[in-house]
Each structure stands twice: as C-alpha cells, then as structure tokens.
C-alpha cells in the first residue's frame, strides 16, 4: 500500500517532468513538420536563448571576452539591468533574427538535399551556436530568474497528507511549466488553425510543391517556423535554466527529447505532448520499481528502450503519419 502511495507521487512527478521534455520536443516537431529538417540544434537553441535572456537582463556586454582579447580593454557590463518581461521580448527578437539568418545562410542553400545532410547541417549549427553563445556571453554558470516560483507546493503537500498520511512533493516550478506549456500549445493550435500564416504553415507541412504552386512563400514560412521554434526554445530554456542555472549542459536536454519524438512521432504536436508524458512517467516509474534492483541511474537509457519497444509495433510513432512506401 505504501509503495502505491509513493508510486502515485512518482507518477505525478513523472507527468511534470514529461511536460518539460515535451517543451523541448515541441520545437523539433514544428521544424520537422514544416521543413523536413531534423533539427538537432534545438537543445543548443534553448541554451542560446537562455544565455541571451540572462545577458540582456544583466546588461552584459556581448562578445566582451573577444573585444578584451583583441583590444586589451576591460569591458564587462553596461551597468544596467533590464526588467524580465522586456528582456524576454528582446531575447525573442534575437531568436527571430537568428531564424532569419539560419534560413538565409544555411537552409536556402541546402534545399532539396537528402534529410541526413540537413540533419548534419543542424549539428554543425549546434556546434557553431554553442561556440557563439559562449563567446558572446561567457561560459560561466548564470542564475536565471524571471520571477517563476520554485520549491515544494505546500497546498498539495497538505491536501495529500490529509488523504494518504504522506504529503506529495510537487515542485511549483513544474506546475508553472505545465500551465505555460499548455498555454503555448493552445496558442500554437489556435495560430495554425485560425490565422493565414498558420494555414500557410500547415499547407507547407502537407506538401511543399503544392504550397509553392498556390503562391505561398516557402522562405517566409521557414523563417516563421524557425522563429516559433526559437521562441519555444526560449520558453524551454527559461524553465530548465531556472531549474539548474544557465550553462553548457542545458543544451544536452535535446537528448532527453529524442525518445519523446520517436514515441510521439516526428510530425505530430499532440504526439510530442503525449510522448513526453509517457516517457516522463515511464522512466520515473521504472527507476522507482526496477531501478533499485539493478543499481539505479536507468533513466538515460530506459526512455530510449521504451520508445524502441513502441516503435517495433508502430514504426512511425504513436501519432506520426503512416509511412507509405511505393516502388
């Protein structure tokens, strides 16, 4: 009985973690749907967005190290701080600019290449952005604070303590992340269903050629999709950055999003959400029940094995488009 109560807590926390994974996976899906690019750089985008946000907020001088090394100056700070809301808007603008640059400098020249080439290009992009982020803002660990609460939620603890005699632990940050993720998904759905640009986006996702022939600008759509993915990355970066500081390791969350993608399907937004929840719950419950028997630290691989098992039965993921092969 006690095990079950504990498992309940693990289950709830798994759901919350799953939402965090889904946030990262969402960016992958958006880009894959619209341009067929498997964007490995999504994790680094999140890191870059979070670094930019902190940099703007703290009033850091971009490229300070480089300028100092070349000119021998000693620049560090502008000496002002920017309010969180404004900083988020500015960081989002930087992400739009970045999307534009990625489209003009990279994607445009790779139209029609094999998917693996595009995939490699995004890995190159990931390297580049990783270096750029560090050169721009420095490699030290930065605390990110945009006013999101953190720590145990007392309300839930008391209520569950009343029910089971054991107070559940739910992180307030996770609750907020869930709310924000839900809002983000709603906004994305509304956008793609009810706006002109959103419809154009879906048309491109459906068929590039057909979309082009009815006069949709592919370039504009791609810039837009990468901007949206950049914004999603910013949100993911804020959540993960608040959790454990903004630094290099933030980019590695991409690895946690990959099994989510496999499970949910590369082309489905609901798939990313459901996949995230299944992976989050699955890996936490496995660690809880089986982990102690095999020595723990199973989460890294279990997510992949779980996704693999799903794939053997449904090779296109839970919600992915059916793969139809013709000779």
């Amino acid at each position: 009985m006690e095990q079950l109560i504990f498992a309940g807590e693990v289950f709830l926390n798994g759901l919350m973690t799953g939402v965090m994974y889904a946030l990262v996976a969402l960016g992958f899906v958006l880009i894959f749907k619209a341009s067929g690019v498997f964007n490995y750089a999504q994790g680094v985008l999140a890191l870059f967005a979070a670094l930019t946000l902190v940099g703007i907020q703290k009033g850091q001088v971009p490229f300070a190290d480089l300028i100092n090394a070349v000119f021998g100056s000693r620049l560090e700070q502008f000496g002002w701080t920017v309010p969180a809301a404004l900083a988020i808007v500015l960081a989002a603008l930087v992400m739009v600019l970045l999307a534009f640059l990625i489209e003009t400098l990279i994607l445009q020249h790779l139209v029609g290449q094999a998917p693996i080439i595009l995939f490699m290009a995004t890995i190159g992009l990931a390297y580049f952005l990783e270096g750029l982020g560090d050169v721009m803002w420095g490699a030290n660990i930065k605390a990110l604070d945009v006013g999101l609460p953190q720590g145990i939620s007392d309300g839930i603890e008391q209520v569950t303590a009343g029910w089971f005699g054991y107070g559940y632990f739910i992180d307030r940050l996770d609750i907020w992340a869930t709310i924000i993720a839900a809002a983000l998904v709603c906004a994305l759905v509304l956008f793609s269903q009810y706006t002109r640009q959103g419809r154009a986006m879906r048309a491109v996702a459906d068929d590039h050629q057909a979309a082009l022939s009815v006069g949709i600008s592919l370039r504009f759509i791609w810039v837009m999709v990468w901007s949206i993915a950049g914004f999603v990355a910013l949100v993911a970066g804020i959540m993960w950055g608040t959790k454990s500081g903004v630094q290099f390791s933030l980019s590695l969350i991409a690895l946690k999003a990959l099994p989510v993608l496999m499970l949910g399907g590369f082309t489905s937004i609901p798939g990313a959400i459901v996949g995230g929840l299944i992976i989050g719950v699955g890996e936490k419950l496995f660690e809880f029940f089986i982990g102690p028997m095999v020595g723990g630290a199973t989460e890294n691989w279990f997510a992949y094995v779980l996704a693999l098992l799903f794939l053997v039965f449904r090779p296109q993921g839970l919600f992915g488009e059916r793969i139809i092969e013709r000779v």
């Binding site: 953190q150 145990i152 632990f169 992180d171 290099f248 989460e299």
Partner: protein
C-alpha cells in the same frame, strides 16, 4: 601542388606549437569550455595567477622564471593526452590536469616519461602509496580521506555514535563518483550506520527521481560526490524537498560558489569539505593585488579571485612552488628537471610556519611527504555556505581521516595495480 602547400602549412602550424625550451615549465591542462568549464575556469585562474605573482614579485623561484603554458582539454581524455604529448618535450616538470579521467590516462605515461603528476584532491586515490606510484602525488587529501573526514565530522556531531543513522551517498556516476563507495561501506560496517548509494548519470540536470527517493527514505545525512551542473541541480532539489541543508555535505569538488549561487537563499547552510582556505583575508592577496591584479596581469581580468575553486587552484600552485623550492635546495641548482622535482616532492614539508611566511596562514593542512607516502596526512575541514553574505565560512579544524580503515584499502588497491601493470614496488628505506 596545392595539397603539398597545404601539407607544408599544416606541418608548419603543428610544429609551431612547441614553445621554446627555457625556464621552469609547469603546463596547465585546464578546461574553460565544455560541461565542466565553469568550474575549470576558476581553478585555472588561481593556478596561473600564483605563478604570475611569483614571477612578478620574486622573479620566479630561485631566480628561475616559471612558464605556465595553458592547454585546453575540455575535460576530454583524448584532448588531455594530446595536451600532454604536446607539452612534455618542452621541459615540463609537473602536470595537474584536474580530471580523474585524464589522470588515469597519464599515470602509466608519466612513469615512462619521468614527469611528476600532482593531483591534489582528485585522481587515483591509491597513488598515495609512493612505493607503487613513483611519479604521482595526491597530497594533501584524496577522495577516501574526504569520505572519512565527513563521517568523522558526523560522528562528532552525534557524540561519537552513528549507529542506526541513515546516510545517503549521492554520486556522479563515473570513475570519480564511485571512488568513495568502498570506503563508506567499510566505515558503515565499523560505525553501524546504514548507507544507501544513489548514482546520478552525468551531466545530471534531471534528478527528480533521486531526490524523491531521498524524501521517501528520509536519510539523516546526505553526502555528495558531484561535479558540474549536477551540484547545482542537487542542491536545488534538496532545497525544494526541504532537506535540512546543514545535514547535506559535499566533497570539495561540490563546494564552490558556482554550485550554490544559482540556488540562492535555499542553499544557506550547505556544507562542503575543503582542504584549503577561501576568501581574500590572507596577506598574500596584498601582493596579489599589487603585482598581478592591478597591473592587469591576472588571468581573465581576475574576476574570480578568492573563490573556492580559485583558492584551490592557487593552493595547488603553492604546493608545486614549494616542491620546486625544495628540489632546488636538494639539487643545488635552480634549473631543476622533473626527476629532481620528484625528489623535492618526496621531501616536501610545508609547515604552518611556512604557510604564514608565504602569506597564507592556516590556508592548508601541514604537508609532510616521503618516499612511501605521497598523499600526506589526508586532513580536511568543513566549510559552510552563508547565502546572505554569499561566502563560505570555515566551521571546523583540520581533521585527520580514519587511517586505520583507509590504509588497508590503499594497500590493497595499489597492490592490485602493481600486479596488473607488472610493477615491482620499490624499496623505500
């Protein structure tokens, strides 16, 4: 032709890497990038700045200037090997790679190349046995010392009795993190506490399961062997589940500003081991300001001066400098080689008086090494984080570890290595 030109240019740049042979060369295999870059940066700064101070103030050691060429390893063993090979023929005396992985790589190499490997507070613990590990030194303390000192501290807190207590070990799931397990198991047999081991896969920004487990099992104390982002995430999660911070003790590598600052007020009261002092209340910083920081010669503009990791890097430099001094004294020449430096290390004796003399009173434990003992006394102390003042405070005196438990373990492990590598332990009399 084009390929030939490229090949020529290639060869030229590759060859250009070797600096001119002169002076005393102490390469700094640092890492300022990668997953552990934030930690490595501060350590490398302290290491470089102390030698800069010696060069600027005293003109080096015994009249010989010290050269500290830096080589970036990114905590990657292959790059570490490349750095080692690139610098070893430039007259390098001693290596301090700040990575357990790279240390394991270098241990067999240094005994062939006859270079000193100095790994304060990390690396292979059994290298303390100088009979087997002729070229490796890990004074003043190693991982097993750390575990034992932490347990001793807890014994003190509980009036000498830990029986029935529960202690959880949260560790970085790598060679480094696994080091203390055997020691803690032995200690748990001896003192009757219950040990649970909780591995965290690197990098470790997601630790919810592990901390939920801690919340369920309610251990009395948590000991952490972490590095990099794992530390902040763990301290953050501990604060989230309201684990009492004063019962949470980190090894020295989990006790720097970067680990606790991102957590903010929640980290108040967190404890960590250390074998060196922190902060800027030492006379040496007067000189440091005058000769290094103000003239703008500090590494990276001196932004981390006085931090825990900076101090540790500086401490490593202090010990190396003292060993060089000793070696010069024995050899009777200022331009020593690595072999003479090893003799210097083996007769190293850093007394409290000597530390006061160089402007660092009570900064580290007394170190007295010998041919058989390359690890010193293993003494360490505890520091506690004050989140409001944003500084570490030392809260205990240097404590000696439980050598009764450690010595057999070290003997066992070093003998196993000697057997595996075909080394006959040398005679130390």
């Amino acid at each position: 032709m084009k390929t030939k030109l490229t090949a020529l240019a290639l060869a030229a740049t590759l060859a250009a890497a070797a600096p001119a042979r002169a002076e005393l060369v102490v390469p700094s295999l640092s890492y300022r990038t990668g997953p552990y870059g934030a930690n490595g940066t501060q350590y490398a700064d302290g290491f470089a700045d102390y030698f800069t101070l010696l060069n600027e103030r005293d003109g080096g050691i015994g009249g010989e200037r010290i050269q500290v060429p830096e080589c970036e390893t990114a905590y990657n063993t292959e790059k570490g090997v490349e750095c080692y090979e690139a610098t070893k023929d430039t007259g390098a005396l001693v290596y301090n790679p700040l990575s357990t992985g790279i240390t394991y790589q270098l241990i067999p190499k240094v005994s062939v190349d006859k270079k000193v490997l100095y790994t304060p507070g990390y690396g292979r613990t059994s290298a303390k046995n100088g009979k087997v590990f002729e070229w490796v030194f890990n004074a003043p303390a190693n991982y097993w010392d750390g575990a034992s000192v932490a347990i001793k501290y807890l014994l003190d807190e509980n009036g000498g009795d830990l029986s029935g207590k529960k202690i959880a070990l949260v560790y970085h799931n790598s060679a480094y993190g696994k080091e203390p397990i055997r020691t803690l198991q032995k200690l748990s047999e001896k003192h009757g506490f219950e040990l649970s081991e909780i591995p965290i896969d690197p990098p470790g920004q997601e630790q919810k399961s592990q901390w939920l487990q801690i919340r369920r099992e309610r251990p009395d104390y948590v000991i952490m062997y972490g590095w990099g982002v794992m530390n902040q995430a763990a301290i953050q999660e501990a604060a989230n589940i309201r684990f009492p911070m004063e019962n949470f003790i980190g090894i020295w590598w989990a006790g720097s500003e970067v680990d606790v600052l991102p957590v903010g007020a929640g980290a108040n009261g967190y404890k960590a081991l250390t074998f060196n002092g922190v902060g800027m209340d030492y006379p040496v910083y007067d000189d440091m300001r005058k000769f290094v920081i103000e003239p703008g010669k500090a590494s990276q503009g001196g932004q981390y001066v006085g931090s825990a990791l900076y101090s540790r890097g500086m401490y490593a430099a202090v010990v190396i400098a003292e060993a060089i001094r000793k070696a010069q004294e024995i050899a009777g020449t200022a331009a020593i080689d690595a072999q003479q430096l090893r003799d210097g290390f083996e007769q190293l004796d850093i007394t409290p008086e000597r530390l006061t003399e160089i402007g660092l009173p009570d900064f580290g434990p007394e170190i007295s090494l010998s041919c058989a003992n390359h690890g010193g006394s293993g003494m360490a102390r505890l520091q506690q984080w004050d989140a409001e003042a944003k500084q570490w405070n030392l809260i205990s005196d240097f404590t000696e570890p439980d050598q009764e438990v450690l010595e057999p373990l070290i003997a066992e492990d070093s003998e196993a290595y000697a057997k595996e590598a075909g080394i006959t332990p040398r005679d130390c009399n």
